[in-house]
Subunit: 213 residues, 2 copies
């Protein structure tokens, strides 16, 4: 296989936008989620994130990486001020509307209405969920880690509420993301549907493979 | 849509394995990457991670979440002791071998040989790459953030080396993950191939949508 090689200096010499696009793609498929918040004046905000990461199951925590852009700043200001936010899975039916939330709308404008997604409140939770999303998490801010090397942040929340479709979970806890048309993101702007290759068994050391008797 | 609702107490009352499986699925598709390391005795180590996240492009940084399990501990011990590691994309051709690296092999046993992936060294970089992987990153440890709420860690590395296939990148920096058979992970054990829905344009505020004149 014929390869291209970039060392650090070569990466830093790439044109700015090309470098950002390329590096965002190369780290692989990302989860597509909408983060919903509301400010203290009651204006709701919705923004797409491709960096949600599982932090733990017991207690349940999710994290995401915050880049201090205008769009993400509105989301984070609301999270910091109110303590609450929602994370909502993006499907094939709503990915174009979800992507449109990344435009730089003003802070007093709700992306829900502007892009045409329905905001709903449930069980007295402060932040709004995306009605069209099949997986909805309600979170409370837990930890913020400033990342020294480039001024971004790891934001961690505790899961207080979780909604998912009835009859969607198998006996072992398996949830088929492709059957529910959950999409993934390549880079910052390419959306993918997925097809299951296989669910593999829990990997065990095969004793015939080990070098110890 | 008929929904299931779990609040925090209900989530914490789920059976342990069921809860871990379910919550890992629901956060969406994850990137599949193999992390390659070598200890000071020269024994190489390889482990699959589903939590690699883009931290920044200039300078280039990647992060991942470390859970202090046996498997991930071997990886992290090597990173801490030597400072260097590689991140290698997982394709349809190698996902079964990649998954097998999650078995609890002993520290003196190289997962490369055991699962049947080829380790290669390039350009005097200390840590081994996966020869079969089309996207290979060489990184130096930069920051470790202990996550207080559950004892996991965010590990951030600076990209010193990057290898990718020749003629794989479009003029705008776009890299087609599906064309290169990069796989994604649902939960901890389900592998997916993906098909491109669309590359969407950079989202802009449509002035006819805004409420300001």
């Amino acid at each position: 296989m014929s390869q291209l090689h970039y060392d650090l200096a070569a990466i830093q010499n790439l044109p700015r936008r090309y470098r950002g696009t390329l590096l965002n793609y190369l780290s692989g498929f990302k989860t597509a989620n909408l983060i919903g918040t509301k400010n203290s004046e009651g204006v709701s905000n919705l923004a797409i994130f491709n960096s949600v990461v599982h932090i733990g199951a017991n207690p349940p925590y999710l994290g995401f990486i915050l880049r201090p852009t205008t769009v993400e700043r509105h989301t984070f200001n609301n999270i910091e001020a109110t303590g609450f936010y929602t994370i909502n899975a993006v499907t094939k039916a709503i990915y174009e509307k979800a992507h449109q939330t990344s435009a730089k709308y003003q802070a007093d404008q709700s992306e829900f209405e502007t892009v045409g997604l329905k905001s709903i409140h449930k069980d007295d939770f402060f932040a709004p969920y995306v009605a069209e999303s099949p997986i909805q998490w309600g979170l409370q801010l837990e930890e913020v880690h400033p990342i020294k090397c480039n001024g971004t942040y790891l934001v961690i929340g505790k899961v207080l509420q979780l909604y998912l479709p009835k009859d969607s979970v198998e006996d072992d806890g398996h949830f088929d993301l492709s059957q529910h048309n959950i999409v993934s993101i390549g880079g910052l702007d390419t959306y993918y549907t997925s097809e299951k290759l296989a669910q593999l068994p829990y990997a065990k050391v095969n004793t015939t493979e080990t070098s110890t008797p």
